[in-house]
């Protein structure tokens, strides 16, 4: 009984701190970060800038939702880098800079993999 009392919180904490990969998966319609980023990428490749800007807004919104769930188990630097890169991606889309936007999208994909891992 005593050991169960000790081990239960430790096991729960371990699960919580390793729940990042699960919690960053989409749980609704608005938090599909990777899907929206793919849409942004496709629109950028097609140089459809209004569509890219629209997809970017949804990507940014999705990240705000995902970060709330994984903030406890994530590094602050990774989360900050993601929002910085999202801002740079927005700038690249506004400037209709295809290569700049694609670079930021690639960085965002890599950072999202690290988030909560």
């Amino acid at each position: 009984m005593r050991w169960a009392l000790f081990l239960t919180p430790l096991v729960l904490f371990s699960l919580l701190m390793n729940a990042g990969p699960v919690l960053k998966r989409p749980m609704g319609i608005d938090d599909r970060f990777m899907a929206f980023l793919e849409e942004t990428e496709q629109a950028t490749l097609a140089e459809d800038w209004p569509a890219a800007a629209d997809a970017w807004r949804r990507t940014d919104r999705a990240m705000s939702l995902v970060i709330r769930r994984v903030q406890v188990m994530s590094e602050r630097d990774v989360a900050q880098d993601i929002f910085e890169d999202l801002a740079q991606l927005q700038g690249a889309i506004q400037a209709q800079d295809r290569s700049g936007a694609l670079t930021q999208i690639a960085v965002l994909k890599a950072l999202f993999k690290q988030l909560g891992q």
Binding site: N18, Q71, V72, M73, S74, D77, A79
Partner: protein
């Protein structure tokens, strides 16, 4: 990222983890810790602090570090129970500083122990005259154990051949107005007996009692919440003096 929220969750995790690990690691008091125990405790505390506020890395590595240190400390304690060599290695061993009334300077130097330290710790033990000391031993936890010469040791009833009665530990029966039924049952007494005893003292309910302890000699100590003691004032003291 809501930093206040993250700190709150991480603080709860490190606080509860620390509570669990310190409970597992035992009941030694700070004064009984060896230097190794002390260093381990500081390291574990640092890891718990980092787990709470270090946002530059994930919580998990800190938690693993905290857990590993606690487990290693537990392992070291366990091995120390089995191996005297290991116990001496991590805890050190006692050093004799005064033997048969003579200060052992070499042991003093080896322990980096100053004469001032020796005199201070002797005074703390109530020894103000070095000539009263037969043996003084520096324990691994830094405490000084002192054996006075037999002519300076206090006389006990045993020395005088006076018989004494058994005096064990008392049993708490009421704590903060609550009857401790299990303790009452362990000494084969009933709540009715307790109520009767309280009634003899003019107490109607255990809720009026802050503390009740039954000694091994059978006397019941009862302290009420209502003290009926008039606070002493400066005027009262002046009256007494005049």
């Amino acid at each position: 990222m809501n930093e206040g929220f993250v700190v709150g969750v991480r603080a709860a995790i490190s606080f509860i983890s620390l509570l669990v690990y310190t409970n597992i690691l035992g009941k030694q008091q700070v004064g009984q810790l060896t230097f190794f125990d002390f260093s381990t405790a500081i390291t574990i505390g640092n890891l718990a602090g980092a787990l709470t506020t270090d946002f530059d890395s994930r919580a998990w590595p800190h938690f693993v570090g905290l857990t590993l240190w606690a487990l290693m400390a537990l392992g070291a304690q366990w091995v120390a129970l089995k191996s005297r060599w290991w116990a001496r290695l991590i805890g050190g061993e006692p050093t004799i500083l005064i033997q048969n009334g003579h200060i052992l300077e070499r042991n003093m130097r080896g322990s980096r122990y100053r004469y001032d330290d020796l005199l201070m710790q002797l005074r703390e033990r109530g020894v103000f005259d070095l000539s009263e000391v037969e043996f003084a031993v520096l324990e691994p936890n830094g405490q000084l154990s002192v054996l006075k010469r037999s002519q300076y040791q206090p006389v006990t009833p045993h020395d005088l051949g006076i018989p004494t009665a058994y005096k064990g530990l008392g049993t708490m029966l009421i704590h903060d107005g609550t009857v401790l039924k299990r303790d009452l049952k362990e000494i084969n007494l009933s709540e009715a007996w307790l109520a009767h005893e309280l009634g003899k003292r003019g107490i109607e309910s255990p809720h009026q009692v802050s503390l009740a302890i039954l000694s091994t000699t059978g006397s019941l100590f009862v302290d009420r919440f209502e003290d009926h003691v008039r606070p002493a004032s400066i005027d009262d003291e002046m009256k007494v003096q005049h």
